[in-house]
């Protein structure tokens, strides 16, 4: 029994953090709100590709790093912390391991509707505006890999403008259908849920750190507002939710990596808790910032709006609690 990450996992995490600190800065996230379709800055994405982070879950024999979920969960956490405005969940957690050698080494951007559509074709596709490929659930129940040029993309405004979503009209064809076993598709969906939960962990950490920094220097009534008990208690509640959801996410990574019999339950528990912790943190962060947080000129909203989106994507907390309830035979 040892819950700690290996030194290799940790140094991979450190490398990703350093790259994203530089290339997925608040200014870079903000720029993604305004870029024309297909015109986003890909330097953070290319850095991740160069480090092998995007095909980390692809087996070595197929050109990837051959890592498993427990080694990459920290990478997703870092992407969340940085507010990375790219579909790393859809690409690295879902598409790359499904496509294997077809993906490895390409550095391609893959958008998908798997996290946002309750049924095929019913919803929008985040990040589709800049995607190289679209991974879409078809009405035939299969997954399809579609080139953006073969679909009609209609940009749609979202609360988090850096999600760069489109409504997509497309026709499934025999050649677009992916020939992958249903079990692999199911596992890919679980990975998507886990990766979204890990992003939420990182987003919550980022929002709490920003808020601690702000209330420690902001003065009112002649004192730092962080010295007021009411402010302290909001932030203690955020820290509490994070302290206990983070290990649940890491445990779910282990359960998926080892094909535990409880893997689905653990993944759902992770997403439910991470979603709730991120929303609690977002609310506390906004309240403790006061009016400055209630502007788009200040950076908090970049992370808060992403947390709002991801808390609901890939199944919200209530949906995942229903799945846990089924596993508990309630």
């Amino acid at each position: 029994m040892d819950f700690r990450f290996s030194e290799i996992d940790q140094s991979f995490r450190d490398g990703v953090r350093a790259a994203l600190d530089e290339r997925s800065s608040p200014a870079a996230v903000r720029a993604a709100w305004d870029a024309a379709p297909g015109a986003t800055d890909r330097s953070a994405w290319e850095a991740l590709a160069a480090m092998g982070a995007l095909d980390a879950l692809v087996p070595e024999a197929e050109g990837g790093l051959g890592l498993d979920e427990r080694s990459v969960v920290l990478v997703f956490q870092e992407a969340g912390r940085a507010g990375l405005p790219d579909p790393i969940v859809e690409t690295a957690a879902v598409a790359a391991p499904l496509l294997g050698s077809r993906y490895a080494g390409s550095g391609a951007v893959v958008a998908s509707d798997l996290g946002t559509s309750a049924a095929p074709g019913t919803s929008f596709v985040p990040w589709a505006a800049d995607a190289d490929h679209l991974l879409l659930g078809g009405p035939d129940g299969r997954l399809h890999l579609v080139a953006p040029g073969e679909a009609r993309l209609e940009p749609v405004a979202t609360v988090d403008g850096s999600r760069r979503a489109c409504r997509v009209e497309w026709e499934p064809s025999p050649s677009s259908a992916l020939d992958v076993p249903a079990l692999a598709v199911a596992r890919a969906r679980e990975r998507g849920v886990l990766a979204a939960a890990a992003l939420l962990v990182g987003l919550a950490e980022r929002m709490l750190e920003m808020t601690v920094g702000y209330v420690a220097q902001r003065e009112q009534f002649g004192a730092k507002i962080g010295s007021f008990q009411a402010v302290k208690h909001h932030l203690a509640d955020a820290a509490l939710a994070q302290e206990f959801s983070r290990p649940a996410v890491h445990r779910a990574a282990w359960s998926l990596a080892t094909a535990s019999a409880d893997a689905e339950r653990d993944v759902s528990m992770a997403k439910a808790m991470a979603s709730d912790a991120a929303l609690v943190t977002a609310r506390a962060a906004l309240q403790c910032h006061g009016a400055i947080g209630y502007t788009t000129e200040y950076d908090l909203h970049l992370y808060m709006k992403r947390a709002w989106a991801l808390a609901r994507a890939w199944g919200d907390a209530a949906a995942h609690r229903r799945r846990v309830a089924r596993s508990l035979e309630m």
Binding site: M1, F5, V215, G226, L240, F244, R321, A325
Partner: protein, 389 residues
């Protein structure tokens, strides 16, 4: 990361499970089928027998060295034992304030003579220890305490009053904080003393907690002479005047791992699920399902978080002030688990029973060992680094 138990750990679990199952039934039978609460005179006497059974089979203090009655079990094995203990439905330990609060301090700062004298009798439930910290005017603000220990020839003269002393009416000994230097204020000038409760001048008066059990006592010290040598041995734990620092070692034990292990809350969560399944689906309020699942997850998350904390502790990174987060988590979880059970029981919840009793007990969690308001302050200041007010 490896979240599997070794063969040795699984064997330890099986041995604990087997022993508990067999002997708990035997003890219950000896109590006429349903033992009384350990916070009543009758139940306390019954549980002394249970403690003797645990000690004789070396399950009383599994993590202690063998010479003091333990098994030198690892932290992992200790966690496994706790899971099995509460899973079996065994009672909360009447020895817990001694073995989980005082003993870690004795191991850390006690002399060899003190360890040899105190620990084996504590493990065997021959000496039963209660905690003498709170006073009528000093609860969360413990450093304002006013009970005094005046140095006199051969020992100390004790005066003052302690209160909220858990199971004080039934215990034989008290570990407490006393002001030994009247010139010093607050955290300075306090001394940690080990006091037999049968000394002349000590009066113990039990009183009822919210649930009606005589779980509390006030302890009056009226010109009590406490020798610091002779048959009682050295009665000062740690350095004279440094009692606050000595006591803080037990505070972090109380808030953290060693007093409220996840096993107890996992067991409560499992019983809540059983209750959910047992209640007629037609009368069960459907909106409670979401909260019951959430409560179960919070118990499971506590177990998982503990695996992370123990892993770090064994690697040389103990949790420190983060134990305040742990205390917030389990105490608020315990209230929620019992609140949900009462909602499922509906009007039956009015009747005395394990859930209604447990509910009343759970309400003490956010109050004792430093109220949750204080824990949130500690979290904000020492974990997040916010400025002190």
């Amino acid at each position: 990361m490896d979240l599997t138990w070794s063969d040795e750990e699984e064997a330890f679990r099986a041995e604990a499970r087997g022993w508990l199952e067999e002997n708990l039934a035997r003890w219950r039978e000896g109590c006429g089928g349903s033992p009384a609460s350990g916070d009543t005179a009758e139940g306390f006497a019954q549980q002394r027998i249970w403690e003797e059974m645990l000690f004789d089979a070396r399950w009383a203090v599994v993590s202690w060295p063998e010479e003091y009655g333990g098994r030198a079990a690892s932290l992992w094995e200790w966690l496994i034992f706790e899971e099995e203990y509460y899973r079996a439905g065994a009672p909360q330990r009447i020895t817990q304030n001694g073995i989980f609060l005082l003993a870690p301090t004795v191991f850390e700062v006690g002399t060899q003579e003190q360890r040899d004298r105190i620990l084996p009798r504590m493990a065997a439930a021959q000496d039963l220890w209660c905690q003498g910290w709170s006073e009528p005017g000093s609860g969360s603000d413990l450093a304002s305490l006013r009970s005094t220990a005046r140095p006199v020839e051969g020992g100390w003269m004790l005066d003052g009053q302690k209160t909220w002393t858990t199971r004080g009416a039934f215990c034989t000994h008290l570990f407490g904080l006393f002001r030994s230097d009247p010139e010093q204020e607050r955290h300075r000038g306090l001394t940690y003393l080990l006091v037999p409760l049968d000394l002349d001048g000590i009066t113990v008066r039990g009183f009822s907690r919210l649930d009606g059990d005589t779980g509390f006592a006030e302890v009056f010290f009226d010109g009590v002479f406490l020798p610091d040598s002779g048959p009682l041995g050295a009665t000062v734990l740690g350095e004279v005047g440094r009692g606050w620092n000595v006591a803080m070692a037990t505070t972090s034990s109380e808030r953290g791992l060693t007093l409220r292990s996840p096993g107890r809350f996992m067991a409560t969560a499992e019983r809540l699920l059983e209750l959910w399944r047992a209640v007629d689906g037609a009368t069960r309020a459907p909106h409670l399902r979401d909260r019951v699942v959430d409560a179960w997850m919070r118990a499971e998350a506590y177990r998982v978080q503990t695996l992370a904390v123990v892993s770090e502790t064994l690697a040389g990174n103990p949790p420190g002030a983060a134990t305040s987060l742990v205390k917030l988590w389990w105490s608020e979880l315990d209230v929620e688990l019992h609140d949900l059970a009462l909602q499922l029981l509906a009007t039956e919840a009015e009747l005395e029973g394990p859930w209604s009793k447990g509910w009343q007990f759970s309400l003490s969690g956010p109050i004792y060992a430093g109220t949750n308001e204080i824990q949130r302050n500690i979290t904000a200041e020492r974990v997040l680094g916010l400025p002190r007010s």
